[in-house]
């Protein structure tokens, strides 16, 4: 009996996981609704949930409107760098994926002209830029770090991306995924970071490549990027699908 149950569970695990993600937000919000709205007859978590999701989509639009493509995030001197720079992910640091840089091939797909994959050596041949900027986590803490790599605009132009598409999506080796708006993708400080400090990214900071977006919160800076795609269909994200605001601009 137990054995049968296990088999059934494993068959439905992906669907269960999806359902679970949706439930996490809903449960949280209905708890809030109960705390807040007892006596108001509005105890239906789904209704409150819908209002909150709608407000989050509204906040996406407001932030896209507020976003100035030419406004640079403040930069700092090397002396301001936070040492050690904190590790943060949805798993402990020991579970950060170990990737062999020699086997690495970045996949490119969607609305792009050239879908060839990219080795690390090829990425290193592109123009490189460095920045010392503040990484702000949605949890409230922040830390200053130094990242270097390929300006994302240069990369998107090089692969012949449709620069009028709405989204750029990222799939990562640690099962993380996220997406950003095209305006932010083209911002001069948005880079495909290959280095942290003066050395290649260590595994804990996203080897072999992470997206560095100083105009967005930390969780919009995916690490261990394995694939990039350009699309007009909303790609969502690991945290975004659970309820973090999608745009999350700084």
């Amino acid at each position: 009996m137990n054995h049968e149950t296990r088999i059934q569970l494993s068959e439905h695990r992906p669907a269960l996981r999806r359902l679970e993600r949706r439930q996490v937000l809903r449960r949280g919000l209905s708890l809030g609704a109960l705390t807040m709205l007892t006596g108001c007859n509005l105890q239906d978590g789904d209704a409150v949930d819908r209002v909150l999701w709608a407000m989050s989509r509204w906040n996406d639009r407001v932030q896209a409107w507020l976003f100035d493509p030419n406004r640079l995030a403040p930069t700092y001197p090397a002396s301001a760098i936070t040492n050690p720079f904190p590790f943060n992910a949805f798993y402990p640091v020991d579970d950060a994926p170990e990737i062999d840089g020699n086997d690495y091939a970045l996949e490119v797909s969607g609305r792009v002209a050239d879908k060839q994959s990219w080795t690390l050596a090829k990425l290193r041949l592109l123009p490189q830029e460095s920045q010392i900027t503040r990484h702000i986590c949605i949890e409230g803490w922040s830390a200053i770090g130094q990242w270097s790599g390929v300006p994302f605009r240069v990369f998107l132009q090089r692969i012949g991306a449709d620069l009028r598409a709405r989204y750029v999506g990222f799939k990562c080796a640690d099962r993380y995924y996220s997406s950003i708006d095209m305006a932010t993708a083209l911002h001069p400080q948005t880079i495909l970071a290959l280095d942290y400090g003066n050395a290649p990214l260590p595994p804990k900071y996203g080897f072999p490549m992470k997206l560095r977006v100083p105009t967005k919160l930390g969780f919009k800076n995916p690490k261990h990027i394995a694939a990039i795609f350009v699309t007009n269909d909303y790609p969502g994200g690991y945290w975004e699908d659970q309820g973090y605001n999608w745009f999350s601009g700084s």
Binding site: G28, L29, G32, M36, L52, F67, P74, G140, G249, S250
Partner: protein
């Protein structure tokens, strides 16, 4: 009030002389209660956001927070902020245009504040419906200022790149976090005193709900 007055309809002549005084204009009452809802949402969800990365050596108990988890709390915080700001703006515009601020919150003289504070310390400060004493004026101007600081420091935290001038004005992102927290504590402190005074003078609650209060004798009414 006598029991006879409460049980049988009496003619005006039999009633003690009383005046029904309009205490708070409708807009002040509506924005007050909308603000109560928005502020409670902001403070409780803010406490849960604080708990994700506590600035100081303590966390807020889960029962006092809103949102269930960080994502839910931020969803509440960034939704309720529109209500807080929209409602606050309506109140401030009304207060400026109608003369409500000028007539009821001003003037505020230090000497009167000291006098009222002395009376209050001796439990001699009397509450006059329809008129704010200087301590009330100080408290309301103070909490309005705190409310505006909460919004400004919140914007500095929400948009430290797009509104980086504002964030710099607060002394940077980390200082803005502390300002946002301290301002919250100031507002919570106001709420506690405010509620304690409503418990001491419960009829003020009726004034904020119905807008009128029955007084044994005529008083100067709040204008605007």
């Amino acid at each position: 009030m006598t029991s006879a007055a409460a049980t049988s309809p009496s003619t005006p002549a039999e009633r003690p002389p009383r005046t029904i005084v309009p205490v708070h204009p409708a807009l002040v009452r509506v924005t007050h209660w909308v603000n109560v809802f928005a502020m409670v949402c902001m403070i409780m969800s803010g406490w849960m956001i604080y708990n994700a990365s506590p600035l100081f050596g303590f966390s807020f108990p889960a029962w006092a927070t809103l949102g269930g988890w960080l994502g839910g709390a931020i969803a509440w915080h960034l939704a309720a902020m529109w209500l807080l700001v929209g409602n606050g703006a309506a109140y401030v515009v009304y207060g400026l245009v109608s003369g409500h601020f000028r007539h009821n919150l001003l003037p505020l003289w230090p000497r009167e504040v000291l006098r009222d504070a002395r009376d209050a310390a001796r439990f001699r400060l009397r509450h006059h419906e329809g008129e704010y004493n200087s301590l009330q004026r100080l408290a309301y101007i103070g909490v309005l200022t705190l409310g505006m600081l909460a919004v400004a420091s919140g914007l500095a935290l929400w948009k430290p790149v797009q509104l980086q001038g504002l964030t710099a004005l607060f002394g940077g992102y980390d200082v803005a976090r502390r300002v946002h927290f301290i301002v919250m504590m100031g507002i919570v402190g106001f709420i506690l005193i405010h509620l304690a005074l409503v418990v001491l003078v419960p009829r003020t609650l009726l004034g904020m709900i119905g807008g009128r209060t029955k007084l044994p004798a005529a008083r100067e009414k709040l204008s605007g």
